[in-house]
Subunit: 695 residues, 2 copies
């Protein structure tokens, strides 16, 4: 019980340190008036978007609250669920909001600091990323702590075993709020950012022949806003959900494994340890003036590695103290830590232009756009093999190390705790990831404010590194999602057995409901990816029409004598994202209910497994194809195969444009999809069991 207090303490520490970092960032100057003006426009656009998004999502949350309340009244759910749903959604949204606030405050300040030196720029950008990372883990841990202590007090009259079971069962359901919010944030933000990006490029770069980030392009501010609402706010909500999901599912598995409160303490305290280790790690991120990608990457990596080592050591003592007879749990944590880093490496290998695959992809541009598309798709497909083997090995290792051979449930707990281990470094890995969009924005501001070329060079160095860390971060998010989703499937079956102890599962692969569930689940990520890609396409078309209109109607725009109407593009993206995010989200919520009603809980379990498998593979493929196309284009722009403006470059731009929705809209939403499916299944389990066709 004493140990458990570390969770709220860690949470408060994270939030305080984030506050301190935020204060230190905002103390810096935003630079020239022109810079302030641009930063302000981006801020306004981002705020307007989030305001609109959150009002739209609020309606969804109210509707869901009513449904959940009705289910609670009908006795299918405990009365806490509607409120837990709400807090999960609220804190997830708050994480994204605060992360975006600091990012839009830091972009001009990063550009301004980069006028001084590379290291100053890095510090500002990285500190704003760290704010985001710490806010996510801090709020996550806060929400979990509040609920844990409240429920512990509420169930104080039950015996310890029953008490912990009731606590974890209620906490499990609250992941649904976080997942729903995350899905809206990722999908909506992803549609916004890529509609603006693709639309701006199609007319600006391709038709009008003006460079990227040119202030004459009416969609340029929308593009910058998109980086903030998609890559920052969306990612924050996403990883909040992953973080909380991995912890609550592991807590639920702890009870089935017979570990009781000890099994719950470990993931909660692991999270607190991760917070402290991340804070320490941030002090080690600094760079010299030499703007080499290697040096910069080393600067960021040093922070992550130091945190990882601290976590390794602390986890050892934690497990030795709490579960001295099962040090295998420690090794399960380690297997997650290692697997996360390995997947990050593989992602980097396939997407960075310092390695062979992306260089070879760049070369296929010599024979035109068709060959670079085939090459990129094929690279993405190939790149799924090793992550699948890594996740498979992590599952096997964590299951058997935790003692799965003699106690099956203990093995499943091992899988859950390995996901917690993987995500324990989240505070700092998210910092290295979230700093990318800030640097990207800083580059845009430097360009639009006509700062001297060495400033743009510095922000470019920071930005280019951001692409690599973003790819690594995505690999990490996907890897943890796979492990968490597996833990959630196991937690789902536990939940069903809690609801009806007499229920006998038949999860045999050849049982038709399971098999059909597998097929339907396997198809869902494809359907979801299709819907989100179509949405980007439709929204981008609207931007194309608007930008063309402004080029034609605003006199003197191309000559630089008149201002484009930036706000109209922001507005179009905002409305389009709001409208388009609904259908994919409904698919994720309705599918498990429909499958449950038709095929029963066996079918639902099959669906979850199918979606996890095909979603994991498709998400990796899309992220890596997209990342590699992006970097292949950059590699050509660096002067290879003809350089900027050559035919191979044009072919590479086609690849990059196809990759945009792959890597920033559809791919990263799939993580959330597979977890939201599980969460909805868990929340509706009791209802499904009473109303299904197949009992």
């Amino acid at each position: 019980m004493n140990m458990m207090l570390l969770a709220p303490i860690g949470s408060v520490l994270a939030l305080c340190f984030a506050g301190y970092l935020a204060y230190s960032v905002t103390r810096k100057s935003e630079g020239t008036d022109q810079m302030k003006k641009i930063a302000d426009a981006i801020r306004q656009g981002a705020n307007a978007y989030l305001k609109r998004q959150y009002s739209g999502v609020a309606i969804f949350f109210i509707v869901m609250m009513v449904i959940l309340a009705a289910l609670a009244i009908a006795g299918f759910l405990t009365p806490f669920v509607p409120f837990a749903f709400l807090t999960g959604g609220f804190f997830s949204g708050l994480s994204g909001f605060l992360g975006m606030k600091i990012a839009t405050a830091a972009n001009a300040r990063t550009a301004n600091a980069a006028r001084e030196s590379l290291n100053s720029g890095l510090r500002v950008a990285f500190n704003s990323g760290a704010v985001m990372g710490l806010v996510v883990v801090g709020l996550g841990l806060l929400d979990l702590s509040i609920w844990y202590f409240f429920l512990d007090w509420f169930y104080r009259d039950l015996d310890p075993a029953q008490r912990i079971q009731n606590i974890t069962s209620a906490m499990l359901t609250f992941g649904m709020g976080a997942s729903s919010m995350a899905l809206f944030a990722r999908v909506g933000g992803g549609i916004f950012t890529k509609a603006a990006d693709v639309g701006a490029d199609l007319v600006g770069k391709v038709e009008a022949g003006i460079p990227e980030d040119d202030p004459r392009n009416p969609a340029v501010i929308a593009d910058n806003v998109g980086d903030n609402v998609g890559d920052v706010a969306g990612m924050g909500a996403d990883l909040y959900e992953s973080y909380v999901g991995s912890i609550v599912s592991t807590c639920a598995l702890a009870v089935a494994a017979g570990l009781g409160v000890n099994g719950v303490t470990i993931p909660m305290v692991m999270a607190a340890i991760g917070v402290i280790a991340s804070i320490i790690g941030t002090f080690f991120v600094r760079s010299g003036e030499k703007a080499e990608q290697k040096t910069l990457l080393r600067a960021l990596r040093t922070g992550v590695y130091i945190s990882s080592v601290l976590i390794f050591v602390a986890a050892y003592f934690l497990v030795r103290n709490i579960l001295p007879n099962n040090m295998g749990v420690f090794w399960a944590i380690v297997s997650g830590l290692v697997a996360g880093n390995l997947i990050g490496f593989v992602t980097e290998y396939f997407t960075s232009d310092t390695y062979n695959p992306t260089r070879k992809l760049a070369k296929t541009s010599l024979t035109g756009p068709a060959t670079i598309i085939i090459g990129g798709l094929s690279l993405g497909m190939l790149s799924t093999a090793i992550p699948v083997i890594i996740v498979g090995a992590a599952v096997a290792a964590s299951f058997f190390l935790a003692g799965g051979a003699s106690n099956f449930n203990l093995g499943l707990y091992g899988v859950g705790i390995s996901a917690v281990g993987m995500l324990s470094t989240l505070g700092i890995t998210l910092a290295t990831d979230a700093y990318g969009p800030v640097a990207d924005n800083a580059g845009g501001i430097a360009e639009m404010s006509h700062l001297p070329p060495e400033v743009r060079q510095r922000t470019d160095a920071l930005d280019s590194l951001g692409n690599t860390t973003a790819a690594t971060g995505k690999g990490f998010a996907i890897g943890s999602a796979a492990l968490t989703a597996l833990a959630l499937i196991a937690a789902y079956t536990d939940e069903v057995k809690l609801i009806n102890p007499n229920f006998v599962f038949n999860l045999d692969l050849v049982n038709p409901p399971v098999l059909i569930g597998l097929f339907v689940g396997g198809m869902l990520p494809f359907l979801f990816a299709s819907l989100t890609m179509e949405a980007v396409g439709r929204a981008a078309q609207q931007i194309v029409v608007e930008v063309r209109r402004q080029f034609k109607e605003i006199v003197g725009l191309m000559e630089g004598n008149a201002q484009p109407d930036y706000a109209s593009c922001v507005d179009i993206c905002t409305r389009a994202a709001q409208k388009e995010m609904l259908t994919p989200a409904l698919v994720a919520i309705i599918a498990p209910i429909l499958v449950g009603l038709l095929l029963g809980v066996n079918g639902v379990a099959g669906m979850l497994a199918g979606a996890t498998v095909s979603g994991f593979i498709l998400a990796i493929m899309m992220a890596n194809s997209g990342g590699s196309w992006d970097n292949a284009k950059k590699y050509i722009e660096a002067g290879n195969f003809g350089g900027k403006g050559s035919d191979p470059h044009k072919a590479a731009v086609v690849g990059d444009t196809v990759g945009d929705p792959f890597k920033d809209t559809s791919g990263p939403s799939i993580n959330i999809l597979i977890k939201l499916l599980s969460m909805v299944s868990i929340v509706f389990a009791s209802f499904i069991m009473s109303n299904t066709l197949m009992k």
Copy 2:
């Protein structure tokens, strides 16, 4: 026993009628000297390719025979397996060979008949397709009959229950030979045809600006040869494998379901009924002179529908006669028949330019190649949803209709027999499918021989219809593959229980070996698709280099005063296909053995399920994306959105080029992959059970 004689009778009927049709085709004139010369060049190229391919495959078969013989000697297999492996491969290869023989004999004759009238052209092309369809079903049924009667004689001293069990168990393993041969034929042929096609287009159409099928293009003959070795010989071997696989797996399931020899008789006789119905159906395929696609399609469909109705009626009496107490088996057959047709319709809806999806895709070409690529991928992904639901419904229907609720194994038998039902129309559906490449070749010959424009118009009408029937045929092949693969997974588990009756499966989804198997299996189709696409890319590059060289070095080629060296392009494709088909094939054979050694038979079952689910979805996506890109291009060429030569057309050509390996190499090979994985698993089951890490 008497009924069973229908199988060899049907087989002989099919082969005799095929012989008669072949004779009637070859009696026609090949036309002018020029036409004969071109047809001869295509024939020589195709023969040279098959000769080389079969010699290469022979080495593989010898190696596998040695391995299987060693396993038989070690007691892991019955002594028949190596020979059954050989006959399966031999007949599968023979199907492809004979189909190709008649296709290369019919192409010039079709062009020549089209000089007379559309109906004459249709008759020649369709009759050659019918030869192929009937040869496939005839040889399949022949091979099955020989083995059945031989084994029945061999095990004559056993009691009936034991006898039928030994027969079906031995017959099951012989699918491996057919599947291996099919994989080589599909992958090798697919690489050949798309390397030639892509290579010819990249230099001829794009660089040199000469039209398709222009005799000055050195790769034009290779392109025509490719249609024969890929779309004819490859498809023949493929569907031979599907046909035989569905029957042997159903026979194996019959024993577990306790149906004994009656359960074996039904699929064998169903096949014989299908043969007779197909023969009758061919008489109804004829057209008037109006070259409308609708009329032509109706002509072909009439044949298929008449056959389907005959099968429906005959199946009813067959089941009523043999299993009077279980008419549900009849309805399981019907569910397969219906599902096959529905999947065909969905394929047509998504890929034909008479419907909305492909027209909308064509419109995305207005904003360039990137948007048409995003649109096509997204269309393909979306198009997976309904087929998944259809297959799910067919599985549920056939399982429960056959009595799965009270007898699980009877339900699985229902799933198997529904696949047989789906494939029972194969004789005639394959005819409508195989006629496409013949018409395509005929058009090329008409073009190269400078026949009058109305001839080309007629062959174009035939060819364009061929695209639709090819897409329908692929949907059919994929749908039957899903059902067959499920039957094979069930047959695999039966086989394991036969080997060791004490073995207890734990196919629970959350059992780690199963779960890891699911992940690995889910990844395999992606890996396989990546390898085959890369192979096409590499081979196409070689063609590009060679065509460029000839354009540069052969004086007077572009002016039409000199002949290009067609043979060198054929030779390059042949060598490349031989070399490149090995790695993907080895993946299919080694993966189940490796997974078995590491994860045991539970892991293997998981892998098979994962590969079936993700393979089915990926195959549909690739086939439909590719088909839709192809037809979107044709739609633009017909004068929409700017027509031939416009920017939208150029964008559509990019889409079509990306779609080429999708729809003709990777996509259609995935069917075979998932069945070969099952076959290898079954053959090696005994070996795996003795040597696995996870018992």
